[in-house]
């Protein structure tokens, strides 16, 4: 029995170290002086705090400062928009009686089965074919931003999650609000949303994570480096600065700060969002 417990701990600690190692490596490597990180035999400890990699990463040919702003803007627009469109749709599905409601909800869910990769080409042709102020959409900064966010302004996953949450709302409370003269809008903004904050947080953080981490679509959109998102930026940093791993790891460390904060501090909210499909 005792040896069993020792084995349990050894295996668990080993597995945890394997999983944590790349996380440790990116942060430790980002503060290692050049030469030390690629020394042989390999050195796993920083021995000091070298900030030159961060200076290098923020002043290299890849404008990751600007790309950081681009990603924040892109992610904020997508998150805010999905929260609004999901709340409206979930509200309609739960609190408004209408013809064909179940069928329509089924169709909403069906959109989740369509893989983005199988519709990306027509979307690319459509969006790059549009014009803004006489130019192709992706020829200007504003146009590029529009192109980045447009297909993701709504998503059925948020609708699904919020509908689940709204369905648990007590009917009596809803009726009481109606009797007190609260219309749809007042009920939604004053009563329903404040009481569904955990679900809204779950949807918001989930959408934020997935928008921040997008790769395929932003790879296709954006004509110049300064209009790229951060994810594309760090992959270009990887190609351009291959001889300087410390600099690359500094760029990666900067890029994961927002999502690392979400995973560490918002864990219970994302757990709810991520496991929604798994527990039935």
């Amino acid at each position: 029995m005792r040896t069993g417990r020792v084995v349990t701990y050894v295996v668990l600690i080993g597995a945890a170290l394997l999983v944590i190692f790349p996380v440790y490596y990116v942060i430790a490597g980002s503060v290692m002086a050049p030469g030390r990180i690629s020394s042989y035999p390999p050195d796993l400890f920083p021995h000091g705090f070298f900030t030159g990699n961060y200076k290098g990463a923020t002043s290299s040919g890849t404008p990751i400062g600007q790309q950081y702003l681009n990603s924040i803007l892109q992610t904020s627009i997508i998150t805010l928009s999905q929260l609004i469109t999901s709340v409206l749709a979930a509200y309609a599905f739960v609190f408004m009686k209408m013809w064909g409601r179940t069928v329509l909800f089924g169709l909403f869910l069906a959109t989740l089965m369509v893989p983005w990769e199988s519709i990306v080409l027509p979307n690319y042709l459509t969006i790059t074919g549009w014009e803004l102020g006489g130019h192709g959409l992706t020829k200007t900064y504003a146009g590029t931003m529009i192109a980045l966010v447009l297909p993701f302004l709504a998503n059925a996953f948020g609708v699904f999650l919020l509908r689940q949450s709204f369905l648990q709302f007590p009917v009596e409370l809803r009726d009481a609000a109606t009797i007190d003269g609260a219309g749809h809008w007042r009920f939604l903004s004053r009563i329903l949303l404040p009481l569904n904050k955990p679900a809204l947080m779950a949807v918001g953080l989930y959408v934020f994570l997935s928008a921040w981490n997008q790769f395929f679509w932003p790879l296709l959109i954006g004509d110049s480096a300064s209009r790229r998102t951060l994810q594309i930026g760090i992959s270009q940093l990887n190609d351009a600065e291959a001889a300087d791993p410390g600099l690359i790891l500094a760029g990666v460390t900067l890029s994961i700060l927002p999502t690392l904060a979400i995973v560490i501090f918002g864990q219970r909210f994302i757990v709810r969002g991520l496991t929604a499909g798994a527990i039935r």
Binding site: M113, E117, L121
Partner: protein, 282 residues
Amino acid sequence: MLLPCVVVFALFIVWPLGKSVSLSLHGSDLFGRPDAYVGLQHYKDMLGSAEFRHILWVTFAFVLLTVIPGVLGALVVVLLLEQHIKGIRIFRTAFALPFAFSVASASVIFATIYNPAIGLANGLLGRFGVDRIGWLTDPSWALISIAITTVWMSIGYNVLVLSAGIGAIPTEINEAATLDGAGGFRASRYITIPLLGPQLFFLIVISTIQSLQGFGQIKILTPEGGPEQSTKTLVYSIYHTAFANNASDFGAASAQAIVLLVILLACTAIQFGVLERRVHYK
């Protein structure tokens, strides 16, 4: 109130779906725009080519190399976490950390580790007297290296889903098992694993779907589809046919996109239909 969603879905999901089919039946000009109607020619070319069979094989191998280790590894971890471990919260957070990494950041970190000359992986191997490995340049290793990266990215999610599943098992069941003298491995084998059936099944399907859609890690780690095209999966091939080297063959790429759609819909259908009946439900 449903209008915003309906407009976005119609414009960017439903209409493109039809358009994909239509693109796959047309040739394309230099800019990828459709020109002459070619019927099923793209499909005939595709299904008759040895290259496409190779792509399907790579895609299938990638699914096996990511789903099996990813789900089994997470299952072992979760079963061990159940053995009344001290510091369980620290372990949980540790396994959740890869979540924070996007496909791009994870791939770039592993690219640094895999670097043939100055990377950590070969450095450590060298210390133990093992020959260098061409992690991303050797055709027999490239897909495995990308699979390792992918498993690392997905393990956190898998642990989370299985932990939630275990949390939903009534404690009386385990207490009864302990009273009957079934602890540790026997309890895992005969109680926990069967009761985790729905979550395991969900994970296998969802991991398969995600593997089939894997793109960023392949594009970043092996920009040209790998040595001897050893990492050229279906999704990578769609991208390559449409965008790489100004190929702009949106017609042929769309035919591949439809094949991908059919495969993924089949996976979803399996999830909802055939296998669901065999899984133990409470």
